[in-house]
Symmetry: C2
Subunit: 352 residues, 2 copies
């Protein structure tokens, strides 16, 4: 693969080869152990020595080999993103957040989608993490809600952080998205507009967020003297198609709801479609609220009032927690869901 070096290059020729820790040690006139101390920021190195070594490192553009380091350390400098969320926008935002947090850390991101319904799901996950000796993993919904997945990580000795709507584990392992608050915001908005016949399309039971979004919504309605009728609370699947179907069913009832809160933007898009098919105008005849504020929310017509989830920010937090670099200086509000009002909501139509 590489050209054979001419003999006269001698063993000290560093120019054609990538420098290693021995080269640095030799040029700095210290042992490789001391170089290792500098790399790992050990306090037991005299400032003068450190500077000399750092100068050589900079001069040669040396970077320690992650593989060798990982091998000796017994753990790869890799962080895994484990997800089973089919929403591409979620995945990409989460990835971006993780990469934000990992920037300059020397870690790299390995992605691992999985299928929680597969019979070999847990074994696959275990063998993946174990074989790679991952430093840590970020578990996102709905995998994050599986106790067994977390248990496996603990068993293997792999650091983990679970991103979920509520706390399911010791605080150091949790990043809470507090979806309940988002549900409350949606309820407050619709109540304020004057709606009373309000419906809710939840996500699938297998997602904890489905429950949280709903109970926050219901709770805030009750506080305002409103009530989410049994018939008006239906279960979807977080998919566009399920949004169409549930929307169609809700709009066929009589009296029909004047407002529908969908558990995510995809289903809200489906509800808009169902409304069109039923000949209803949005927002004049029907108000619709989504959840997530992914790109689609602003592409729809009318543009969608929705609850924004700060996915990227959450991702950054998660990975910082994992690496023990958490920066608590940021505004904690930026981690919470917040309402974004667009065109799909308005006061209910006047009663005839």
């Amino acid at each position: 693969m590489s050209k054979p070096r001419a003999p006269e290059d001698g063993p000290a020729d560093v120019s054609r080869r990538r420098p290693n820790i021995n080269d640095i040690a030799r040029l700095a006139g210290v042992s490789k152990k001391t170089v290792s101390r500098v790399i790992n920021a050990s306090p037991f190195v005299r400032a003068e020595t450190r500077e000399r070594i750092e100068a050589v490192i900079a001069e040669l553009g040396y970077a320690p080999d992650p593989q060798a380091r990982g091998l000796a350390y017994g753990r790869a400098f890799l962080i895994g993103l484990v997800y089973d969320n089919p929403n591409p926008q979620y995945v990409v935002n989460m990835q971006l957040g993780l990469l934000d947090g990992m920037k300059g850390s020397g870690f790299e991101l390995v992605v691992h989608p999985c299928d929680r319904s597969s019979p070999t799901f847990l074994e696959d996950l275990r063998s993946f993490v174990e074989r790679q000796r991952l430093f840590g993993v970020v578990l996102t919904p709905s995998v994050s809600e599986d106790e067994r997945a977390a248990t496996i990580m603990a068993e293997i000795g792999c650091a983990y952080v679970r991103v979920a709507s509520v706390s399911l584990d010791q605080p150091e392992h949790m990043i809470e998205t507090r979806d309940r608050l988002g549900g409350r915001e949606a309820a407050a908005h619709l109540a304020e507009l004057g709606h009373t016949r309000i419906a809710f399309v939840s996500g699938p039971r297998s997602f904890r967020s489905s429950h949280e979004r709903r109970s926050g919504f219901e709770e805030a309605l009750e506080e305002r003297g409103l009530h989410l009728a049994k018939a008006f609370a239906v279960e979807g699947a977080y998919t566009y198609e399920s949004g169409i179907e549930r929307g169609r069913e809700l709009l066929a009832m009589s009296p029909a709801p004047t407002a529908i809160f969908a558990g995510n933007d995809e289903m809200a898009a489906g509800v808009l479609q169902a409304a069109r098919q039923a000949g209803l105008r949005v927002p004049e005849d029907l108000s619709v609220v989504g959840f997530d504020d992914f790109q689609i929310a602003s592409r729809l017509w009318p543009t969608l009032t929705t609850v924004r989830t700060p996915t990227r920010e959450i991702g950054r937090l998660a990975v910082e927690r994992l690496m023990g670099r958490e920066d608590d200086g940021r505004d904690p509000k930026s981690r919470l869901p917040s309402l974004v009002v667009r065109e799909s909501t308005a006061p209910p139509p006047c009663r005839d």
Copy 2:
């Protein structure tokens, strides 16, 4: 971290420790080198010996450590996805395709988004690939169109495959998406419907696909005796916002086009929005065609006629090429763009 082992466990206790190649060698009564040969499918092992070793491997559930293997091999068993495409749907589909192809290969996927406009773009890319000693990378548009990026990979000795709309390199380094054909399909469809005043909103010049989609479109129009007027060929940025603006401008012309082909679905969504603002009905007054067939195409209203790009399939091909596992048995048509007709296209309105 791990409990200290009791002395009586002895050095041969494999139960608490993850088995390594030495354990396998000892139990199989061979040298570690021979085990290594089996792992790497070397032909120079007697069938009998191989079976014995494989039995021990299976019994202990042994899996070689990728880090150690990579260190000795001089190359990590990692494949990088390098992208600067801001479209989440593209990224996720590409990732899924790569993972499809890597399944069971022992490789893992490391993602690396980058910003081609950053002044340190090339250095960042080089240091990422070099430090990690990546086995290979898949370069996707528009990074894939940068000669310097490819040159760096060649210099470092990192395998690479470039996914681009046309061939820009030796065939073994290219996966062509042939966007030109997609442009042709769009033109054929609109021409067949009877449109004559046809406009095109291209992507940014920095993407090769912008040019290819356009020239295929134009070429096929000409073949049908139609012509893409200068004023009707405008440049967008592959973004929703640019779709709105260009759409608005085109629809303000007189005579206005009766059909608009947008360079991707995002811009097509923008064009739909512009049409609504102009009080035009789609498809009665205006036909719109997109490109990509990502999720958004079927969420819009009306649903979007568009050119499907088999991104996931392309991803699988790319990574198989990289690993030298290419399977040519599949239908080559599945790699080409193809038209998907939905609701946003119809014959032009009758002339008054």
